[in-house]
Amino acid sequence: MIRLRNNQPPNIDDYYTCLQCGYCKNVCPVYNQLGWESATPRGKVYWLKQLSGKSLMDKILRRKIDINDAWVKRIYSCTSCAACEEYCHVNLKLADLWEDVKEWMLNDGVKPLAPHKMLYDRISDPSKRNPFQDDDNPERDLLKKRGSWLPEGIKLSRNPEVVFFAGCTSSYRLQMLAQSAATILDNADVKFSILGKDEWCCGSPLLRTGQTDIIKGEYAEHNVQAIEARGVHTVVTACAGCFNTLKNNYPKIVGKLPFKVYHISEFLEILHKRNKLKFKKEINKTITFHDPCHLGRHGKVFDAPRYIIRNIPGVKFVEMDRIRKNSRCCGAGGGFKIAFNDIAEDIAVDRVKEAQATGAELIVTPCPFCVVNLNAGAKKGNIPLKSMDLLQFVTQAI
């Protein structure tokens, strides 16, 4: 049992509004793997309701309504994919609710899961400000190196119209994605710049896991100011997580943003329509597309990446059964993979199987986490179907 300082979880009206209809159950990727009602959104809401409405009757019947480690684990057993919200009978804002509940728990005496705590420690470290470290030299100042992914020969504009927000994963781990983005922008004569060491983690991993204080208190404002200081009205990011955070979370934290946030796929669509981006090489392959949850359901971007893929000559485009708003999560999001890698990969196996059924030779998706987890899923499920980031795919066509 965990002793809470305050037994009143947030958004109590939601618990009473919930119909317990279970429409959220079968679409929950984690429930699909675990199979226990306690892993379903409605199961969690049911327990929160009991917790918030402890009554005299509970005392008479000696019913214990508390939370324990198992329950905390259940609350974190969520990929923040928001499929539950899509199907909710009574329009509950469930994606927000799970984040609010985590925030409440942590503020109320619950300890974060160890891997999430590690993320927090690194992101809050002034010499890092990102979730990664140099494992050979953990003390190394990585922030200084933040912009070192930039390919030689690409000149940043002194008077930019666009800021490219690279994100932590592309800056430190999958640098090729940031490099592809910069190359494409450069080829299309876009006057752009990057934030370099002024770019701090957007905060997505912490906001999704309830560890919100530094993001709400400092990081969001810092990033917004850094972008504003470059005098641009447009920010482009190639990461679905950064996109969702900048577009949907930041306005709630700092108010209306002084710039517009685009996902790179939206920006590429604009460039292609203006004839500034041309696909010169054919890719003769059957391609299917996976909607990243943070780009699709959260960010409402469904068409732009499809437009890009369809316009590459030679591509045969096929859709999976569950797409767009009804898309099935890859399993990586919301801090889930780092805490529950096995289940995350099992979720990916299911998604890759769905892709395989289309006859596609390659899965393209504009999210580095989805790519990594879908490839892990393919390996685990022994399915010969690779996933590739949209940027890497586009680079092959120009």
Binding site: Y16, T17, C21, G22, N26, E37, M57, V90
Partner: protein
């Protein structure tokens, strides 16, 4: 309150893997006199899957395999934990067609709908759940695994229809472990058309005339003015009218076009207005979401009654009178499930956190049940509370029902406290007369309390 009367937390939850495991468990339960409560999607409102006195809850969600799509014989065979929406999705992607499914298809399980004897979307043309299934596999309380019905052909012929015995049995006779569902060739088109009415009289008359015309819609849903008002209240786009009829056709394009024309003629004579395609499509996509506006309550109590179509006017008037007298916020939605059966699901918006008020509001459910009886219809579903209606529903037949129950489950381990017996955790039966007069009293109390806002 409920937990004082019932021990509704199970002692154990079991996720069975197959019929054989369930068979072993049944034998164990009988030997040790432990209640077994099967639970499907858990989407019903009458407590069919809630224990009344602890026991082992069988979470049938773990039996969720799609066993086979048989295109040659037009069937799909599934385990009972699969949701009806999933069945429909798979059937559709195989270029086939499922005739009817519950309006709670995203949550309701195949086994659950059979056990509640459901009617739903498409029942107008294709009948209730019993007409969607070919055969079922059932584990009986003694552990025997039987097949009821025939996988490839109809069950109709002489001999007791074993399959239908389990339809609507609320899990009191056995555990369904496999179901073969009947399918149809895919239709050329599915076309929803919505009509609005400014006059309640015409709205109800139109419903009745549609059922008497030689057209065969796939589905007919009706929504009253209060329901539409609540939808507007939560920010949804609903017309300011007294009633909405959503008709959906499916089939060959030429036939659907002809039937739609006949329908439009009926509606226009009664001053109904045909809504545009976008609106109609939206209404169709909302078919699983009857309680969208629940947040207004935020508690909703939902009734379900069957009434003859020709008594719809009386039923609407009677229900609205009750709403007024009880000073509650309530609306009527429903569907027409065959040419003479209207299934109404009136719901009340209340707030369970205000205990006296919300308890008193429960009388509404009893009252609309009484109205349905009065007009030659019946309340639907028994579950935990309404087993007191069994005698009223079946008269002396209730003894035969008891005999059936006793002969199949002499040990009374199969979902005790449901359907045939309303029993509290202390083994004390819920007395029918006491239950009814208690409900009546609550109705009076609610009428005295201030009006719900």
């Amino acid at each position: 309150m409920m937990s004082l009367m019932f021990k509704n937390t199970p002692d154990l939850v079991v996720k069975p893997k197959n019929a054989l495991e369930i068979s072993k468990l049944m034998k164990y339960a009988v030997k040790n006199n432990i209640p077994i409560i099967p639970r499907g999607g858990g989407s019903w409102g009458l407590g069919g899957a809630v224990p009344t006195n602890g026991g082992i809850l069988l979470d049938m969600g773990s039996l969720n395999e799609i066993i086979k799509v048989d295109k040659e014989n037009l069937t799909i065979t599934v385990e009972p934990g699969v949701s009806w929406k999933e069945v429909d999705d798979i059937v559709t992607s195989n270029d086939l067609f499922l005739g009817a499914y519950p309006s709670s298809a995203p949550g309701a399980s195949v086994g659950g709908w059979i056990n509640t004897g459901g009617i739903g979307i498409g029942s107008y043309k294709y009948g209730g759940v019993e007409q969607q299934i070919r055969s079922i596999e059932v584990v009986l309380p003694d552990g025997k695994i039987i097949r009821a019905g025939f996988e490839k052909v109809m069950s109709n012929s002489s001999g007791y229809n074993l399959r239908d015995l389990f339809v609507g049995s609320e899990g009191t006779l056995g555990i369904i472990t496999k179901v073969t569902i009947k399918l149809h060739p895919a239709p050329e088109i599915i076309r929803p058309i919505s009509f609005s009415f400014n006059d309640v009289g015409n709205f109800i008359k139109a419903i009745s005339e549609i059922t008497r015309a030689r057209i065969m819609p796939w589905n007919i849903t009706i929504l009253d003015g209060n329901h539409l008002e609540y939808l507007r209240k939560i920010g949804m786009d609903a017309p300011e009218v007294e009633g909405l009829i959503n008709v959906t056709f499916e089939g060959t394009r030429a036939v659907v076009n002809y039937e739609a024309k006949v329908l439009e003629r009926i509606i226009s004579k009664l001053d109904g207005e045909k809504m545009d395609d976008e609106f109609s499509e939206h209404e169709w996509s909302e078919r699983y979401y009857e309680l969208r506006s629940k947040a207004i309550g935020p508690t909703a109590l939902v009734g379900e009654v069957f009434v003859p179509v020709k008594k719809l006017k009386e039923m609407f008037d009677g229900t609205n009178k009750v709403i007024k007298r009880m000073k509650i916020r309530a609306a009527i939605v429903g569907m027409i499930s065959d040419r003479n059966t209207a299934v109404l699901m009136p719901y009340v918006l209340t707030d369970e956190r205000k205990m006296v008020k919300s308890l008193a509001t429960m009388a509404f459910i009893k009252k609309i049940g009484d109205l349905a009886f009065k007009f030659g219809g019946r309340p639907a579903g028994l579950g935990t509370f309404f087993s007191v209606n069994l005698k009223k529903l079946h008269g002396k037949g209730v003894e035969t029902i008891f005999d059936i129950k006793t002969s199949i489950d002499p040990y009374d381990v199969m979902n005790p406290g449901k359907l045939t017996e309303g029993v509290t955790r202390f083994g004390v039966p819920i007395p029918a007369l006491g239950f009814r007069s208690g409900m009546e009293l609550m109705g009076v109390v609610k009428g005295i309390l201030p009006k719900d806002k």
